[in-house]
């Protein structure tokens, strides 16, 4: 059976040095592979190589088609969600969807349905320039799914999405996996990885440092988050509470905000504890993947 994605010894060199070096992996139908690694590890570069958007050494085959020689045929089998989706700003959402539907030879009806399905139906006549980052992300996702490709490539799909949209995304990836779609996604939402991915490929300085089942990847445990809480009063109570319940998580003040540095997997528990204590939260902000200075490996894997 032909694998949806096979990468062999993929490498990319810039004048400044190697961005990718000898990356080899395979991705089967119905499998989700998460790419993780610090900023500059080569995750996005690898995705661009997979799509044939940059010149590279080694080979990439999508559904048995070599990207280097038959890029167009190979890309027919891929739906791609870029990290920062860029569309023609003066086109409306509807025009954009139909333009990409025409390029992919997808019926207009399906493109319109895709726009409706991701909740952009009421914004169909809005220019893309007027969309928020999250809406643009959703539009890009609709376009990636439009042709029902056997391979989905998602570059930081959680970026710019709120919590509910992230959960929706998790469900979507699960649905695609169940449909038999192979999914390659890069992410820094490490706590999502065990729920979303079957395997994890960790990159560091362009090299593969580990490739294995998501359940065995220990980087999740080391991932840290910075949780910013703006409270409606009772800050001192909250600090005391957090120091009592989460002694391993330092709490600091930054203006109106309390900043709690905790394990990524614990942040929901922190919020819960504050709410259960009857302290009202006015606003929450999360910074994911903050490097943990005490865990160099984890720091490398989470930033």
């Amino acid at each position: 059976m032909v694998m949806p994605l096979v990468a062999r010894s993929v490498g990319k060199r810039y004048r400044t040095g190697a961005a990718l070096d000898d990356v080899t992996f395979e991705l089967a139908s119905g499998e989700v592979l998460a790419l993780v690694g610090p900023n500059g590890a080569g995750k996005s570069t690898l995705i661009k190589c997979v799509l044939g958007l940059i010149q590279h050494s080694g080979t990439v085959e999508i559904g048995g088609v070599a990207v280097e020689r038959h890029g167009k045929a190979a890309r027919k089998l891929v739906g791609y969600l870029p990290q920062n989706p860029a569309f023609h700003p003066d086109l409306t959402v509807r025009e954009t969807a139909l333009f990409y539907a025409d390029l992919r030879r997808v019926p207009h009806e399906r493109a319109r349905a895709g726009v409706e399905a991701i909740g952009l139906g009421e914004h169909a006549e809005k220019e893309v320039a007027a969309l928020s980052g999250g809406m643009r992300q959703r539009l890009a996702l609709a376009l990636a799914l439009m042709a029902e490709p056997p391979l989905l490539v998602l570059d930081e799909p959680g970026a710019g999405l709120d919590i509910s949209a992230r959960l929706e995304l998790r469900r979507l990836v699960q649905d695609e996996r169940e449909r038999g779609t192979a999914v390659l996604l890069s992410t820094h939402w490490l706590e999502d990885v065990p729920y979303i991915a079957d395997r994890v490929l960790t990159l560091r300085e362009g090299r593969v440092t580990s490739l294995g089942p998501a359940s065995e990847a220990d980087l999740i445990a080391h991932a840290t988050s910075r949780l910013f809480l703006r409270l409606n009063g009772r800050s001192a109570d909250a600090v005391a509470l957090l120091e009592r319940h989460f002694p391993e998580s330092p709490v600091a003040r930054s203006g109106d905000w309390l900043v709690v540095t905790c394990a990524a997997s614990r942040k929901a528990r922190v919020v819960e504890a504050v709410v259960e204590a009857g302290i009202s939260i006015a606003d929450i902000r999360v910074e994911e993947g903050t490097p943990d200075a005490t865990q160099p490996e984890a720091a490398a894997a989470t930033s």
Partner: protein, 276 residues
């Protein structure tokens, strides 16, 4: 329609839609139409026998000045503009080959400029037809075709500049320098160089072949009024030495080469590039 043709047609339609919203192109179309109309009316007032021939003579200079300018501006920002916006990678992440993208852009821009120039020719032609007995219309139409050819050539050059540039401003600057050299500076410089380094006819021939705008000018004069004084030293040499039919063939081949070679170079270079 084949798959490639369908993709190219989608890109052509996109270019045409962009062009219809382009203030640059609208401004050009309006300016060109007004100037062409002015020329046709001026010709009518000054010469009762003027008609198409007189207007065509006036349009030659206008076209040789403005058409390369518009084409170099539009062509030079075509690819690099998409690259700067990030939309180049978005489009090439689809089942679209780099060649299809270039052809789609080129054909779309060509049709858009043809429409703008055609509007000027059409309005001026209508005015002349209403005011004069119709004479010299063949030359008028021939010059329209030459302008269409010049459009294709200069857009091809502009597209090549766009492919080799890494920033839109750089591409525009290159386009402006190219326009200045080919349109304003060339005549004097070519003659000076030819006379300084070699007074042979070969040097003059090379000087003509190196500039498609000069080639179109000589072709236009040959078709209109093969007067040696108007042809200039390079044109006069060609007509005297080679005769009108050979000169015409050489200059048409030059125009074709100046269209095809930049396009092929743009395609080969574009294929080797990173798009994201």
């Amino acid at each position: 329609m084949s798959e490639s043709a369908a993709v190219v047609w989608t890109l052509v339609q996109k270019e045409l839609r962009d062009a219809s919203r382009s203030r640059w192109l609208a401004g050009f179309a309006l300016t060109f139409t007004l100037l062409a109309l002015g020329l046709s009316l001026t010709g009518s007032a000054s010469d009762a026998q003027g008609g198409f021939s007189r207007t065509t003579a006036g349009l030659v200079n206008l076209c040789l000045l403005l058409v390369p300018l518009l084409c170099l501006v539009l062509g030079s920002s075509a690819v690099v503009g998409e690259r700067e916006r990030g939309t180049l990678a978005t489009m090439l992440a689809q089942p679209v080959s780099p060649l299809e993208l270039l052809i789609g852009k080129y054909v779309g821009l060509t049709l858009a400029v043809w429409a703008a120039v055609g509007l000027g020719f059409g309005v001026a032609g209508l005015a002349i037809a209403l005011l004069h007995p119709i004479t010299g219309i063949v030359q008028y139409l021939l010059f329209g075709l030459l302008s269409a050819g010049l459009t294709m050539t200069m857009l091809a050059v502009g597209l090549l500049l766009s492919v080799v540039s890494d920033a839109r401003m750089k591409a525009l600057a290159l386009g402006m320098v190219t326009w200045f050299v080919l349109v304003l500076f060339y005549d004097l410089a070519a003659i000076a160089l030819a006379l300084t380094f070699s007074t042979s006819g070969q040097a003059l021939l090379l000087a003509v072949l190196a500039n498609p705008v000069e080639g179109v000018r000589i072709l236009a004069v040959i078709e209109l009024q093969p007067d040696l004084r108007i042809l200039g030293p390079m044109g006069a040499y060609l007509v005297n030495e080679l005769g009108v039919p050979t000169t015409r063939t050489i200059l048409l081949a030059q125009l074709a080469a100046w269209t095809v070679l930049p396009l092929v170079a743009a395609w080969r270079l574009f294929e080797q590039q990173d798009y994201a």
